[in-house]
């Protein structure tokens, strides 16, 4: 079986676990090289103003790194799932040429055979600008 490079592009940490966890799990378990790219670090993922921003970013990144371990571990104890951080700001992801070039760079780095992306024609329930 050919070992595929798979790129999953998601707006926030936890979207992978909410939207396509079993597909990612089965790909990882089948030995494919899966990279999960998070567009933002969910800097606005709380109602508490004291946590918004860098503080929330640190927490959400730590949670995502912990969640990556659920999909399986390599012999050295690191997650089989590779995480990539695209670096946009939650709720303020621009549809601009520099932003597009960032995604093109990601695809050029990973060189995937298969990409999972969000369907832009589906109304977002919470974050239309991410």
């Amino acid at each position: 079986m050919m070992r595929m490079r798979v790129l999953v592009i998601l707006p926030h940490p936890d979207d992978g676990e909410a939207l396509l966890p079993c597909t990612i799990y089965q790909l990882v378990q089948a030995g494919h090289d899966v990279t999960m790219a998070l567009a933002t670090s969910d800097q606005y993922g709380t109602k508490d103003p004291a946590f918004k921003g860098r503080r929330m970013e640190r927490i959400r990144k730590a949670e995502m790194r912990q969640a990556a371990r659920v999909y399986g571990l390599r012999p050295d104890g690191t997650p089989k799932l590779r995480l990539a951080w695209i670096g946009f700001v939650d709720g303020h992801t621009p549809k601009t040429r520099p932003a597009l070039e960032r995604i093109q760079q990601l695809i050029a780095d990973v060189r995937p055979h298969l990409i999972f992306g969000g369907d832009p024609s589906t109304p977002s329930t919470s974050t239309p600008t991410t």
Partner: protein, 146 residues
């Protein structure tokens, strides 16, 4: 939604010979049903349970539950096994264009129900106030070429 458009445009701009397959999740116009095993479903709960900061957002969870129930009900009609559904983008002329799945009536309904609109104040204060900006470069937890 914006990241969905960026992904679509980035793949669309690649030469046809280098273009990877693009499968869209969270689509209501799916054409792929990937069968999942019930025993793998626990990964969803284990993985989502780690995101403890999000467990109190009851409204979002309810919406996700409603969407999951809708998906589950529909996919049970068309398939006999639990599946995760995707839309594979067909790169043939006229087929790659995405149009909204909603008609005019549905748009009015969604607007009235404030579906797809963030709660008031969710993205305040501004990123500048919080000292946030787009990071200078992509970051990988593990090298991509290993």
């Amino acid at each position: 939604m914006n990241i969905g458009w960026l992904t679509l445009w980035a793949v669309q701009r690649l030469p046809a010979s280098q273009r990877p397959r693009l499968w869209l999740y969270q689509s209501y116009k799916w054409n792929l049903h990937l069968r999942i095993r019930w025993r793998d479903a626990k990964v969803a709960w284990q993985g989502f349970g780690v995101h403890k900061t999000q467990s109190h957002l009851a409204s979002i969870k309810l919406m996700n539950l409603g969407r999951a129930m809708l998906h589950f009900a529909i996919q049970r009609v068309f398939t006999t096994w639990p599946t995760e559904n995707f839309r594979e983008v067909k790169w043939v002329p006229g087929e790659h264009r995405l149009t909204s799945f909603t008609n005019r009536f549905a748009r009015v309904f969604f607007k009235a129900a404030k579906y797809g609109q963030p709660e008031r104040g969710r993205y305040l204060p501004s990123p500048q106030t919080l000292g946030l900006s787009i990071t200078p470069a992509l970051q990988y937890d593990r090298p991509v070429n290993e």
